[in-house]
């Protein structure tokens, strides 16, 4: 009857059968990010211990100990509560964060000496976390909307073959022009991230090791090592006591739970 319809169908069939040809590097990069996010959905709630070892140029070490609780939110960023055990002078200090894919996160800090809860500005994404080489933005939950993407190439890596993808932060307050992420084909686990500063020079490299699978689905690294190439400092972030689905709910993430977190 009408010649346009069959042609449309034909075109669609061609496009579907050869996605590689039709996809731009940007679309491919986004697709990989979406798949990685999709595979990590549904973990519910978790808690874990963080041990940070800060090392300066002379190799002198100082230690941070933090306990973390996290709650997955549908259609929003995660809620998290962190409590500091070390250094001793900030023991009992606690941090409550409601992260959002777009826009500012809601953040409160509890100062135990004054028993004071302070709402704090979350604009400072690029600032160092507790004097470490991790910035606040390096520790926040991954959300698709936080970056635009560009697939670069496939490359051999520790876990066989890896996607190499450029991620460009959407937030103008990010400390980076881009991150280059190495993610394996099999499980979509991140093995390496390179961070480029606002002048697009290589600033830091983060490597992941000791991956373990939880609930037969979710992969978490035991060790993340961040090296700053510009100041010669490094920070090791060691994770321990990972526990998933311990029964946390919204009531564990409010100002009352922040005050008694310790």
């Amino acid at each position: 009857m009408n010649m346009i319809k069959p042609i449309n169908l034909l075109l669609t069939a061609v496009l579907l059968s050869s996605p590689v040809m039709a996809q731009t590097p940007e679309e491919r990069g986004l697709e990989i990010a979406k798949e990685a996010k999709q595979r990590d959905l549904g973990w519910g709630d978790m808690q874990a211990d963080m041990l940070m070892v800060l090392r300066n140029k002379q190799g002198e070490e100082s230690v941070r100990e933090i306990r973390l609780k996290s709650l997955e939110q549908e259609n929003d960023g995660d809620k998290s509560l962190s409590v500091f055990d070390k250094p001793r002078d900030v023991k009992g200090t606690a941090f409550l964060s409601f992260s959002h894919p777009v826009g500012a996160d809601d953040q409160w800090l509890y100062l135990p000496a004054l028993k004071r809860v302070k709402r704090i500005a979350s604009r400072n994404k690029s600032g160092p976390f507790m004097g470490s080489e991790f910035a606040f933005e390096d520790l926040s939950s991954f959300e698709i909307e936080k970056y635009s993407y560009k697939f670069i190439q496939d490359e051999a890596c520790e876990a066989g073959q890896c996607f190499v993808v450029d991620q460009y932060p959407v937030d103008k307050n990010s400390g980076y022009t881009r991150r280059v992420v190495w993610m394996d084909h099999e499980e979509y686990r991140i093995w390496k991230v390179e961070f480029y500063d606002r002048k697009n020079s290589l600033l830091k490299t983060l490597t992941f090791s000791g991956y373990q699978q939880y609930l037969d689905k979710y992969w978490r690294a035991d060790l993340q090592q961040m090296t700053n190439h510009q100041n010669g400092k490094s920070t090791d972030l060691k994770w321990g006591n990972y526990q998933f689905r311990v029964g946390l709910s919204d009531k564990d993430f409010n100002k009352n739970s922040l005050k008694r977190a310790r």
Partner: protein, 400 residues
């Protein structure tokens, strides 16, 4: 310490049911500190003829967690030994409390500290605890307040109900102490409006909620005024000031808008005492520049204004005062911070300057260097009493 208060607290603690099977988690921590104050001049009053004052303090904390975290008990005694001032040599139980956590409620019983408010230079609406005024002139040190506090978490906010059995008198410097009024405050002769005196049971209710960028709180307090007024009297034939604690009703509001790098802060107070009704306000803004010159350092600027309807008759020191300050945070591994500011009294044209610097040394030590300078000329200005008490203070704190 009032024995009745102590016995109520202990009774509450002993009532905690402990299921035998559960493990009791215990933790011991705390801090010890030493401070050295150098006054730039000798004091203007008798017995204040010294420049150097040293002091040590301890504040251990014992913590128990039972029933899988549903019940916690905290005990935090405090003791300070001061070289000159026998009133500053004092002890307190900062906390001796039991917290029981239910599904959407918490019951907090015992001696505790509660902070309300958002501003930095003055804590106008912070009412639950009495100020431990001999500790520091910033009013941030508090005495443990006996309380039963039921906290309810609802979708529309958190509601806190307080019954406060027992009142804590404010501490005041003795004759050998600096940073005091010309006449000594004789706390032994404290007077009360209520026949129940310090046994009066105070009550308070507070609602607080976060709406997107806005955090607000509103409360009503009824009971013994934490701020005494003073009458003159005699002790051993010498004139002294006698603190008088009246019964008041008070409504307080605190709100903060957190917008990008701006924090907008407002505290409002309405107080009804037997002799007067008045309003007061502390309002201000804080702006932070992040990552100065591509470094990790942040620089914050703070401006606040304090106002009291009673003007120069106000008992508060922030009746028509402008405050400007800056906070520099290096965000280094040692958490180095600098805070400096000036308070300017627009009625009396007096100024107070302060500087604070602190840094961590090793894993357990923190050193702070503080300076305070007072400049007042008007004889009616309360600050004239401490005009010669400019000081530099070095504090070493050991955390364990």
């Amino acid at each position: 310490m009032d024995m009745r208060v102590l016995s109520i607290s202990l009774a509450a603690l002993l009532m905690i049911p402990v299921s035998q099977a559960e493990e009791v988690y215990f933790e011991f921590s705390g801090k010890a500190s030493g401070e050295l104050r150098g006054y730039l001049e000798e004091g203007q009053f008798q017995d204040q003829d010294y420049h150097i004052a040293s002091s040590v303090a301890i504040e251990p904390e014992l913590f128990w967690e039972l029933n899988n975290g549903s019940d916690t008990v905290t005990f935090t005694p405090f003791y300070r030994l001061d070289q000159h001032d026998e009133e500053r040599t004092h002890g307190d139980i900062r906390e001796l409390s039991w917290i029981h956590v239910g599904d959407d409620w918490e019951l907090r019983t015992g001696l505790r500290k509660v902070f309300w408010g958002v501003t930095e230079f003055n804590h106008l609406v912070d009412v639950i605890n009495q100020t431990d005024a001999v500790e520091d002139s910033d009013g941030e040190d508090k005495l443990g307040q006996p309380m039963v506090n039921l906290s309810l978490v609802r979708d529309w906010g958190i509601v806190d109900l307080f019954v406060l059995p027992g009142f804590r008198e404010r501490s005041f410097a003795g004759s050998e102490g600096r940073l005091r009024t010309g006449l000594i405050v004789d706390t032994d002769q404290a007077r009360y409006q209520s026949d129940d005196e310090e046994q009066h049971i105070d009550t308070a209710i507070r609602w607080s909620q976060s709406f997107d960028l806005y955090d607000v709180g509103l409360y009503w307090f009824s009971g013994t005024n934490r701020d005494p007024r003073f009458e003159t009297g005699l002790k051993n034939g010498n004139p002294v000031l006698i603190p008088v604690y009246e019964q008041i009703d008070q409504i307080g509001f605190d709100g903060q808008a957190t917008i990008d790098s701006w924090l907008w802060k407002l505290e409002l107070l309405w107080r009804d005492t037997p002799t007067e009704q008045y309003s007061a306000m502390q309002a201000g803004v804080e702006y932070t520049f992040y990552g100065i010159r591509d470094s990790a350092a942040d620089v914050g600027l703070l401006v606040e204004y304090g106002w009291d309807e009673r003007g120069e008759d106000a008992s508060s020191v922030s009746q028509n005062d402008l405050f400007i300050g800056s906070r520099i945070t290096l965000n280094d591994a040692a958490s180095t911070e600098f805070l400096a500011g000036v308070g300017y009294d627009l009625d009396y044209q007096s100024k107070s300057l302060f500087m604070e610097a602190s840094s961590r040394f090793g894993d357990n030590w923190k050193l702070s260097l503080d300076a305070r300078i007072f400049d007042a000329e008007d004889a009616n200005d309360p600050m004239v009493n401490i005009e010669q008490d400019d000081l530099v203070q070095l504090t070493a704190e050991y955390f364990y």
